[in-house]
């Protein structure tokens, strides 16, 4: 910069000298009368000066070009930095909740089959005195929750000069309201670590672009198309009362069987065909155990979430672990209309622990027959429905612990496929109104002899209405979810009522209001109400909200065994929650 100034000054001086010397004024001409130089000398001097000016101009031009080049480099670097920074994304969300499990004062009594009855459908009789009531703080409680806060980075890179981009994303969920760590408590059992890179959709892949837009292929850990295809029908994501509490949630409780993030996924997303598109994904089971009783190789939790031994059971993946999974969706979108159908199947789902500690009288009947009974149940030996061999081996080694327990179901009958399908749509009116509807069918392919405990097979419905106020700052939404009755019930609830098989429907209502202060900062208020039938135990926080507010009380035991002495589940609970929170996105 200094050099330029100097050159400019010199050039100006030279130009001034040139002007002075070339000025044809009379005074100079007159004073030069005494020593009049020849015209040739003057012209020679002028040529020299002109040459110097030309040299200075050239140097000035060269310096200006160098500066311009430097500016270009700085600009390119700035663009790259900008592009890099734009790859970061995330959501920070914390809410204060006032919730209740709605189980205060509940009572429970034990039931058994009436004398001489051998049918799973009863009739039943009360077989003992009143059991203990809900333990712990199960009424209104004030809590703070992180609600699916997450950060991530995604980017793409054109491979050489091809029409293929290398794409990638790393993400994680972060805990805003508590320290990160393993989640091995009596109410939440998982080996995943909040805040660790990879606890979020994380993948690499390839994507066609330009005229070779063949779609997107991804490899990694991610949600499946069955879930992602209908995320846009769920306005309450991360909040109390979001639709995951029922939709895709086959058994109630906190885990979303058909909405879980999976490991070892190969996913393909098609391009748009005049409004039509589809996604397919396959999750490699990588499970060395034929009954899916171990964690998948390379995974820290059992397939579908939860670590081995969740719910105070034995250290197996027998509470819903599965092997391979396939998921796909078919979508159509044009104008404000969005139609979607999706299907997902999990193979070899192990739910044999559903029998342990069950309060189902028919299970008690099977247990009472013992391992050597020759009584037939639905054409097979009743004794074969329970896993007596493992239980007896454990009992032999740990008689004190196993004494209070009971065997699992036999994996030969209780390790089967589960699938789900759903279809629905959305219509988005231009004036701000959006309507959503979703129908779902969940299925567990059990043999007839085990259907009495099939709580995984039911239908579900979701309806939501949203309105975006014209200013864009405010939004309001209301939703209603319904869980249909299941085929059977393992009777895990402390207050299980066997005569009420099918009496396990649930209805949830949610209302939320959002106000945005700018493009990124939002405050919201939310209220959710889950009304469970006598044997149902759906909560209001599953699938997104940090604190679940489920139907478990605070009962706990000091050992892991066959007794299922963990938190006690209460059917017919009535969770209600009010929540206010702040949300920042970048």
């Amino acid at each position: 910069m200094f050099g330029t100034r100097m050159l400019r000054a010199l050039a100006a001086v030279a130009a001034a000298v040139l002007v002075v010397f070339s000025y044809p004024g009379g005074s100079l001409a007159q004073t030069a009368q005494t020593a009049q130089p020849s015209d040739a000398d003057t012209q020679a001097r002028m040529r020299i000066i002109q040459q110097r000016i030309d040299d200075l101009s050239r140097q000035l031009h060269e310096l200006q070009e160098q500066q311009s080049e430097t500016a270009k480099t700085v600009s390119t670097s700035s663009n790259r930095l900008n592009t890099f920074m734009k790859g970061f994304f995330g959501t920070l969300d914390v809410s204060i909740d006032e919730t209740t499990k709605g189980m205060s004062g509940m009572v429970a009594v034990p039931y058994s089959l009436a004398p001489g009855v051998t049918s799973p459908t009863g009739p039943f009789v009360i077989s003992g005195g009143q059991k203990a009531g809900p333990y712990g703080r199960v009424s209104w409680m004030t809590m703070m929750s992180s609600n699916g806060s997450n950060v991530g980075y995604r980017g793409s890179h054109q491979i050489g000069t091809t029409d293929v981009d290398f794409i990638y994303q790393v993400a994680t969920a972060i805990d805003m309201a508590a320290a990160p760590g393993l989640q091995d408590t009596w109410t939440k059992s998982s080996n995943t670590v909040m805040g660790a890179i990879g606890l979020g959709d994380t993948y690499l892949g390839f994507q066609g672009h330009g005229t070779a837009n063949w779609g997107k292929l991804m490899l990694g850990e991610m949600y499946m198309p069955y879930k992602t295809s209908t995320d846009r029908l769920n306005p309450f994501s991360g909040q109390l009362g979001n639709y995951n509490t029922i939709m895709g949630n086959s058994g109630g409780d906190n885990r979303i069987e058909f909405g879980t993030r999976m490991d070892h996924v190969i996913r393909y997303e098609s391009p748009d065909f005049s409004g039509l598109s589809f996604d397919v994904a396959y999750a490699l089971g990588q499970n060395p155990d034929p009954n899916s009783n171990l964690t998948s190789l390379g995974s820290v939790d059992c397939s579908g979430g939860n670590n081995p031994g969740s719910g105070n059971l034995f250290l197996n993946c027998d509470d819903g672990g599965f092997n391979n999974a396939f998921s796909g969706d078919l979508k159509f979108e044009i104008g404000g209309l969005y139609l979607v159908g999706a299907y997902e199947v999990h193979t070899d789902v192990n739910r044999s622990s559903d029998g342990v500690g069950a309060n189902n009288p028919y299970y008690a009947y099977l247990y009472g027959l013992g391992p050597n009974s020759t009584v037939k149940c639905g054409g097979v030996l009743c004794s074969s429905l329970l896993d007596w061999s493992d239980f007896q081996a454990y009992e032999g080694e740990n008689p004190g612990e196993a004494l209070a327990g009971s065997p699992e179901y036999n994996t030969a009958y209780d390790v089967v496929n589960e699938w789900a399908m759903k279809f629905g749509g959305q219509y988005r009116f231009d004036f701000g109104l959006t309507l959503d509807y979703l129908y779902e069918d969940l299925h567990r392919s059990l043999p007839a002899v085990m259907e009495f405990q099939n709580e995984r097979q039911r239908t579900g419905d979701w309806v939501a209405i949203e309105y975006d106020f014209p200013s864009g700052a405010d939004r309001i939404a209301a939703g209603w979810a319904h869980a249909g009755a299941s085929v059977g019930d393992p009777g895990g609830q402390h207050n299980y009522m066997p005569a009420g098989v099918g009496d396990n429907q649930a209805n949830m209502t949610t209302l939320s209001y959002w106000h945005k202060f700018d493009k990124q900062f939002t405050v919201y208020a939310d209220v959710a109400d889950m009304s469970n039938d006598g044997n149902a135990h759906y909560d209001i926080g599953a699938g997104g909200h940090g604190i679940k507010t489920d139907c478990h009380d605070a009962t706990h035991a000091l050992f892991i065994d066959y007794s299922s002495a963990g938190p006690t589940t209460w059917g017919g609970c009535h969770p209600i929650g009010f929540s206010m929170g702040v949300n920042f996105k970048f």
Partner: protein, 125 residues
Amino acid sequence: MEAARTDLFGPLLAIALGAAVLAGRPPALAQTPPLEQPGTPRQEVVVTAQADAAVTAKVVQVLENDRFVDSSHITVETRNGVVILRGIVMDLGDLNRMLRLARRVAGKRRIVNRIDLIPEDLDAD
């Protein structure tokens, strides 16, 4: 009846998905986005590179100028009169408003929504 119905839906959907996979020829279809044909009701849509660029600029502008929509992770492209939105949003309200705004600006042009919604979901139990 219930069992028969549920048994039927799954295979039917699987067949539909399979048919979509088999019938899909992505490159060919992707290379030929629907062009406006003279005489069709959408003939007023001008399909030129200049018109595409103008529409892209208008959509970008309306998204950037909106006080409450975060479009910082969104790219807009218009090809042969079809407006394509790509990228990610973390807020369903943003997605819906974005699509409304784009549709308002794009007029009769088709909007292709390739935006990934990243919801605040965490399935950990």
